[in-house]
């Protein structure tokens, strides 16, 4: 537990350093004013969400290929963290759009595909929550995790493939002045560290939960002995990989 607290403290310190850069180092945009500073965390959160969903993809492929419960836990951890970062991306984007576009939301290709991404992984987590725990649910979720990732490149390239109101890439096109670029790159690195720490903590939670008997999270008068991944033929298979 101590090392997770230490990692979390480190990630928070990095995010505070990024905030200091955003508010005290990066210049204010001449056209949009201070509201443009939403850009730094909005884009960094989107990249952290993509990285988290890539973790779901890797975990899902490994689970279907090797049947590893560790891979399934990694996928579960990545999905929840990715959903949190996608929520931050969407809400910050809406709050940026209101003063610039005059509306919180428009059914633009980038916004719509990002909303679809949020729905896909919310569905993934819903499947995991509602389905009876076990290999069947894990296999089904892995398939959703693999096909769901198809939307990630669609979100990324949507500004190139369709006419959109959302601005195109600014990093690859050298559109940012050096102070803004260095602030963005630092914020992105800090956000990726935070995402890694959140996935590691969630992975640990999933590991401990897998080792607990089914129903023990909710108080039960007669705790059953099966674990979340136990099968009738292997009653204690929760840690078998």
């Amino acid at each position: 537990m101590t090392r997770y607290l230490g990692a979390a403290g480190g990630a928070v310190a990095l995010m505070l350093a990024a905030a200091a850069m955003i508010f005290f180092f990066a210049p204010t945009d001449a056209l949009q004013g201070p509201v443009q500073k939403i850009f730094y965390v909005h884009v960094a959160a989107a990249i952290a969400a993509f990285a988290s969903f890539a973790t779901v993809l890797v975990g899902s492929v490994l689970y279907l290929w090797r049947g590893s419960l560790r891979a399934d836990r990694l996928a579960r951890a990545g999905a929840l963290v990715g959903l949190v970062f996608t929520t931050v991306t969407l809400v910050m984007g809406m709050l940026w759009a209101r003063p610039i576009w005059g509306t919180y939301w428009t059914w633009d290709a980038r916004l719509t595909s990002t909303l679809v991404l949020w729905i896909i992984y919310a569905g993934y987590l819903l499947v995991r929550r509602l389905a009876a725990p076990g290999r069947q649910a894990a296999r089904f979720a892995a398939v959703v995790g693999i096909f769901g990732f198809i939307d990630v490149p669609i979100v990324y390239f949507s500004v190139d493939w369709w006419r959109t109101q959302h601005p195109g890439p600014v990093i690859a096109t050298d559109a940012l002045p050096p102070e803004m670029l260095s602030t963005f790159l630092f914020t992105m690195a800090c956000t990726l560290v935070l995402a890694g720490v959140l996935i590691a903590i969630r992975y640990r939670i999933e590991t401990v939960m897998d080792q607990q008997p089914v129903g023990s999270v909710v108080a039960s008068p007669a705790p059953p002995t099966r674990t979340r991944f136990a099968s009738p033929t292997s009653p204690q298979s929760g840690e078998v990989n």
Partner: protein
């Protein structure tokens, strides 16, 4: 300026809240396990 403050307040609440909730959940599970 108001939108900037609300946007960053939301990011802090969402990411910080999720981090705190995860740590508390891990602490409770670890206690229950031991």
């Amino acid at each position: 300026m108001g939108y900037l403050v609300v946007a960053y307040a939301f990011a802090v609440v969402a990411l910080g809240g999720y981090l705190a909730w995860s740590l508390m959940q891990l602490r409770d599970l670890t206690r229950k396990k031991s």
